[in-house]
Amino acid sequence: MSIEYANLCSVVVKQVFGETVQIVADCLFCAVSRTLPAILKKTNLSRKEVSTALAVLIKYQLVVFAPCATNPFLAEYSLKREEIFYILRYPSYVQLIHSKYGPVGAAIAEELLHTGPQTATNVLLKCIANSEIKEKIETYRENFLAMVSDNYLIRLPQLISAEEDPVPKLQTDAYQYFAPPDINLHFISEVQAGKEKVEKAADAGIYWHANFSRFHQDFRDTVMIGAIERKLGTSASECFKYILKQMYERTDPWQKDCSNPFTFAEIKQTIEKKSNNLDLIKHLDQYVSLIADDPLRFIRKIGEMGGGQYVVDLNHAFEELTLSWFGSVITERYGSKASRIFRIIHMKKYIEQEELQKEAMIPAREAKLLSYYLFQDQFIQIKTIRKAGGGGTGPAKAFFLFHFKPRQSVRMILNICYKALYNTIERSNFEKSEHKRLIEKSQKLDSIVATMKERGESAEYIEEILETLTPPEREILEKVKTRIKTLSKAELTIDDSIFLLQMYLHHSKVETSLTTKDKK
């Protein structure tokens, strides 16, 4: 976790939860875990404020607690750093659910994400109360259960400790994660009528939450399928989609290196059953071997069983995608010659300055300049090999070889992405505060106009009120709105880049202490 990430999380928490929670979150960010008195001492806030802040963070699953090792009567709180970042992805999650389950599902997802984990009955009640979509309660229930069975929603650990335990214990069995709840529609309608209380529902105490790793799995699949489509065409990408489905039948989605094997015969069966693509069915074996032979190395043949045994090689897949991503970034930053140099250095593993110039067919001075720019910005690294000083005569000769260390560069550019994201949020806040007066005025006007319309005032009167916002002010307001919109769009695109880089770090081979924890 770098300082850019810390700043980003801090600013996100402030935007969503407010300043007090931000102070507490910052305090927890820089420690593994802290007890309540420690937090009080560090932040100088009142006990009530800190407790509320912690309660909010715990409710949204950003903080976990456990009994202190030294003192079982005291709870230690630790911050889940990765989860804070997911707050930025909430719109993408809702979008994903919308595309799969329609507006009903999207309403459920939005409700869960914005108000935090709740019981199923609660969610449905709220959705029906809030939404403009007039759907029957059965549709809502069906959607909810469908999302549970597809693993988009996950059960939270339940309270199992007795009343006397000072620190509550929560636990769930793994097979209970996706067990569907008992939603009693009759009960819900009675609550709506006001005859029953929500707390007495049959599934009280079973809280549901969005299963982020499932969403990330879908995002990852989209990235890979999109890449195949761009390179090899739509039929190949459809073939790959079925390959991935087959892979999930047997492999844990977050297995690091490569998936468990599947055979060509299984793919053929699935595709013949489900696909409408005639071209695909006719040339299926060709498409599979095409994907297997492609330099992208998404799948790999490992045997001949069942007409050909293959594995999906996630390690290589993300390595190739990350490399191509780097190539594009370097092209944008320094020009296409620089990305040529970068690819040469990567392909040749270790190369000297003069050879580089010859391979790249770029004038010597320009090649030197660009390669040193790349080195300065840490996209490539230099390895020096020193020869022992030539027999006492003359200085020690040294060879300087350029090479590319993926993990190092990826971490570097990931930090830049975090910083860029932080900058968008900061700038957005700045714009809002600069024009605060104007924005407030327009909001007040809008609310006045709305109430007047309800009361049925004449159109002329409404026009007059609207005139109080002068045209120059209106222009400025429009400009501010477009600015904020551009910044939000930029946030989403940077998040795509961050996702790709995070996937690379997760799936690449070298294990460090940070990657052994299953973050997703």
């Binding site: 090899l232 060709q286 790249a360 770029i362 900058n423």
Partner: protein, 293 residues
């Protein structure tokens, strides 16, 4: 005159022995000429430039010079002749100035004067080596410098021709893309598509020769280097065939434009100095203001 006759006779003997006649051979051939007269004759021949003096081990050898080869005018003095001879030996690779000095044992200033002299007389020329731009090699005026000195097809007057390389790069890429489009039209299935869109170096060579954009003759190795640069640009890939040669085909990039560079932060040169406080902040960032408007 007697000297003349003697020099002619000596010349005849020397010409008779193509490898070069030693003093002993001359004594055998002209038994009744005294040493003094022989010496005079030899000196005269040397001055005329019809024979040359070589040393083999300890012995001196006199060799007849081919009159056509010796283009040196008669009024050139001895040092110039020596240096001219040394440069001639350099052939078309040329000889470095330091090597001339070593072989001729002359000092720097004198040597420079003589070289300048010869250059103005248009007998030798200096060619800048492409490998080390400061190094100059000398060779005879009418010789064509060797490829290793000039750098081959990519160098024109010792300057790297970047635009030429770029143009060739573009044309090769266009050819690869054309082949691929033609293959797509056939609609025979994916593997056939892949096979048909591959090009060998020969096909590219033919295409480029037909285009006629290159004044310099390009052979297949040159084109191979150009195709490699297209691969390094990420626009093509290089596949090894079973017989060891490579074929090339145009490819698309697997990713769309990365999100990071759609923001000015992605290409900002001072991103590392950017933070909440100080001169470089997102609130005051000039690049961002330009981008937002």
């Amino acid at each position: 005159m007697a000297a003349n006759d003697i020099s002619h006779e000596i010349l005849a003997i020397i010409q008779g022995v193509p490898a070069g006649a030693t003093n002993d051979d001359l004594v055998k051939g002209l038994p009744d000429v005294p040493a003094q007269a022989r010496l005079e004759g030899l000196n005269k021949l040397l001055q005329q430039g019809t024979i040359e003096l070589l040393k083999k081990g300890d012995k001196l050898i006199y060799r007849a010079k081919d009159p056509k080869k010796s283009a040196l005018p008669k009024d050139a003095d001895n040092e110039e002749k020596i240096i001219y001879g040394i440069i001639e030996e350099g052939g078309n690779k040329g000889i470095w100035i330091r090597d001339i000095r070593l072989q001729s044992n002359l000092n720097m200033t004198q040597l420079n004067k003589i070289l300048k002299n010869l250059e103005t007389k248009k007998l030798i020329k200096a060619v800048k080596s492409v490998n080390a731009s400061k190094k100059k090699v000398y060779m005879l005026y009418n010789l064509e410098p060797d490829r290793s000195v000039t750098g081959g097809a990519w160098y024109q007057d010792q300057d790297f021709e970047a635009e030429f390389v770029d143009v060739l790069n573009q044309q090769c890429l266009r050819f690869l893309q054309l082949t691929r489009e033609n293959a797509e039209k056939k609609r025979e299935g994916p593997l056939a598509l892949k096979r048909l869109s591959c090009c060998t170096v020969k096909e590219v060579h033919k295409f480029i020769s037909d285009l006629g954009i290159s004044k310099v003759h390009l052979d297949e190795d040159d084109l191979e280097t150009i195709l490699k640069t297209v691969v390094y640009d990420g626009s093509a890939e290089r596949i090894m065939m079973p017989d060891g040669s490579y074929v090339y085909r145009a490819v698309n990039s697997p990713l769309a434009a990365p999100g990071l560079v759609q923001m000015p932060c992605g290409i900002c040169p001072v991103i590392r100095n950017c933070s909440k406080c100080g001169d470089v902040t997102p609130n005051k960032c000039v690049y961002m203001t330009d981008w937002l408007d």
